[in-house]
């Protein structure tokens, strides 16, 4: 598709038309549309969220027409003292870190596997990963809920086939929060591994075959070759995919909402996204919901900063 573009001699950034003489309004006109829509769709909500997090904005203000009062840090103090909120936060962070770590480890191992197998096998594995990656979240969740269905799900059927195992009609998502989040974790790892595997595989193809061969002749074992030859090349890729997965796994609202649709709905089964939704939208407490949202936004921006910095490095160098 891009061969026409790519095959042309690419000029360095210095080849841009210099516009030094007068103040040029053209670039500002060009970004105007994007800037306006971002201000409206993202900027205004962020500001509103910050303002509202300092207000008492509950059911009375929403339905009774009472103007919201400024209460400054009361909402934040309230969520700090809210045991449920902390339980949900700790659960979200643990879930996010564990899921992202497993995803990256499995993805990198799969990429290594791809370099070891014949081309046909690699092609089959890549097609399978691509199918899983392409599944819309909502469709994927529907299928997984069917797979884990207690009465006629394939998971229970296959487990019962194993000699000595009898799970009967076990209810995987409705029994304990631990099992619920294990199931959610399995589904999210399944969804996220393809991106990691493809990225890591692209990185591995940059490892020089000569260096690998030479290190092998010098007596380096498989682990040493990975640690000292492949890993340094893979490191930047791993760093970025780990970061992206951490950010994505913190916002698994759709997956958790859908699993709750099919199973238990209590706050023991909530992560930050669903808890904020229940507090703010369904529970009519905009003030507390906004304060929690600011908390999530702050974590996300802190994490994203490293990602953005690495992209900008390329831009300014």
């Amino acid at each position: 598709m891009t061969t026409t573009v790519a095959s042309r001699p690419v000029s360095p950034p210095a080849g841009r038309t210099p516009q030094p003489r007068r103040r040029n309004w053209a670039p500002y006109l060009l970004i105007l549309g994007a800037a306006v829509v971002l201000l409206l769709g993202m900027g205004y909500p962020v500001v509103w969220q910050i303002v509202t997090s300092f207000q008492k904005y509950g059911a009375l203000q929403q339905l009774g027409g009472k103007a919201p009062d400024f209460v400054w840090f009361d909402n934040y103090i309230a969520i700090v003292h809210n045991g449920t909120f902390w339980a949900v936060t700790v659960r979200s962070v643990v879930f996010c870190v564990v899921t992202a770590a497993i995803t990256v480890v499995v993805g990198v191992l799969m990429a290594l596997l791809m370099t070891k197998v014949p081309a046909v096998v690699r092609f089959v594995l890549q097609i399978a990963l691509l199918l899983a990656w392409a599944m819309p979240v909502i469709a994927a969740m529907t299928v997984w809920i069917w797979l884990f269905d207690r009465r006629r799900g394939v998971v229970n059927y296959l487990l019962n086939l194993i000699p000595g195992v009898d799970v009967g009609q076990f209810n995987w998502i409705g029994t304990t929060p631990e099992l619920f989040f294990t199931v959610a974790g399995i589904i999210i790892v399944w969804m996220s591994v393809p991106f990691v595997a493809f990225s890591a595989y692209a990185g591995l193809t940059q490892v020089s075959g000569e260096v690998l061969e030479a290190s092998q002749l010098d007596g380096a074992g498989a682990w040493q070759r990975f640690r000292y030859v492949m890993f340094p090349v893979l490191k930047p890729v791993i760093a970025i995919v780990l970061l992206l997965n951490l950010i994505w796994d913190l916002r698994v609202f759709a997956q958790i909402t859908l699993l709750q649709d099919a199973g238990p709905k209590s706050t023991d089964y909530d992560l930050l996204g669903t808890y904020i939704y229940k507090t703010g939208v369904a529970g009519f407490d905009y003030g507390a919901g906004a304060a929690m949202s600011i908390f999530v936004l702050a974590i996300t921006i802190a994490l994203s900063w490293f990602y953005v910095r690495s992209l900008i490095k390329e831009e300014t160098s």
Binding site: I127, M135, I138, T142, W146, A290
Partner: protein
């Protein structure tokens, strides 16, 4: 696409060692290669199985699905489930999804295209801050913003409205689209345009006749991405579109029923397949760009 290119270069690097050494090695590692291939195939089955199971179940009747032993191949299956699922509520949701997606993608492409020209062809004050802002905004989770977005849309009277949802979608998708298009614009040398201007074309003419045609593939790829993101979006739609469901919300309706009553999983899987299959086709076409767009810089470095 990247995967294919990557594969070729991997092939090359592996074939470089001297033939004698490589045959010796191959003979010694034969069992290992077989084992690893078997493992890779098992993993392939594990990852493809849910997608296969969706298609398989969608063609089986509820009687077959209720049997104690699952049916692993849709022998004797039919497309009846699909017929039953294509109800008026499906077509209403389809209409909403198509309208929102088309509107969002069209607006997003125009805005992103202009902005990508600005950040790659011009040096202006605030350029780097603009780039940092769009990259950061791209990471903001809908989960952290939906209360405000809900309130804003209700104040504007745009709840359950196609235009309201589209505004939020454009804002969510435009950052990544700008970033992706920027890569394509940088790939077309400005000298080409300058040469055309020396030959007597105006700046606008040079742009329209020289640069734009070269950017067409990039516009198509970015457009498909924007399409996929809007088509699959669930969270914002759930909050904003209470009375005017998009396809993902329509599909959710089936999951909700599954909690309270016995439902016909064949129909649910048919519904999922209808939502998923067009997406899978489009996705496979543009997959390579997705990886390279998100980790650009890292792989090259």
């Amino acid at each position: 696409m990247t995967a294919m290119v990557a594969e070729r270069s991997a092939e090359r690097t592996r074939e470089t060692p001297a033939p004698a050494a490589s045959t010796r090695r191959r003979r010694r590692f034969r069992p290992a290669v077989w084992l690893l291939s078997a493992l890779a195939l098992v993993l392939a089955v594990a990852w493809a199985f849910p997608v296969y199971w969706m298609v398989n179940s969608s063609m089986l009747s509820s009687v077959t699905l209720e049997a104690a032993t699952p049916t692993f191949f849709p022998v004797g299956g039919s497309l009846k489930n699909f017929e039953r699922v294509l109800t008026p509520s499906f077509f209403t949701a389809l209409g909403v999804s198509v309208a929102v997606t088309l509107l969002s993608v069209a607006v997003c492409l125009v805005f992103a295209f202009l902005a990508s020209i600005a950040i790659s062809r011009f040096r202006f004050r605030g350029r780097v801050s603009f780039i940092v802002t769009i990259l950061l905004i791209q990471m903001l989770p809908a989960e952290g913003l939906f209360i405000a977005q809900y309130k804003m849309m209700s104040a504007l009277g745009l709840l359950s409205n196609v235009v309201g949802l589209s505004i939020l979608y454009v804002a969510a998708v435009v950052p990544f689209t700008i970033w992706m298009l920027r890569g394509f614009v940088v790939g077309v040398p400005a000298e080409l345009e300058e040469a055309a201007m020396l030959d007597g074309l105006s700046r606008t003419q040079a742009f329209l006749r020289i640069t734009l045609p070269l950017l067409a593939p990039g516009l198509v790829a970015s457009g498909v991405f924007a399409f996929l993101q809007c088509w699959n979006e669930f969270t914002v739609a759930l909050v904003i579109m209470e009375n005017n469901r998009t396809l993902p919300l329509w599909l959710r309706g089936f999951v909700q029923q599954s909690a309270t009553q016995a439902i016909d999983w064949g129909q649910v899987m048919a519904a999922s397949a209808i939502v998923a299959i067009p997406v899978i086709v489009f996705f496979v076409i543009v997959q390579g760009r997705m990886t390279s767009g998100l980790v650009s810089g890292a792989v090259k470095g």
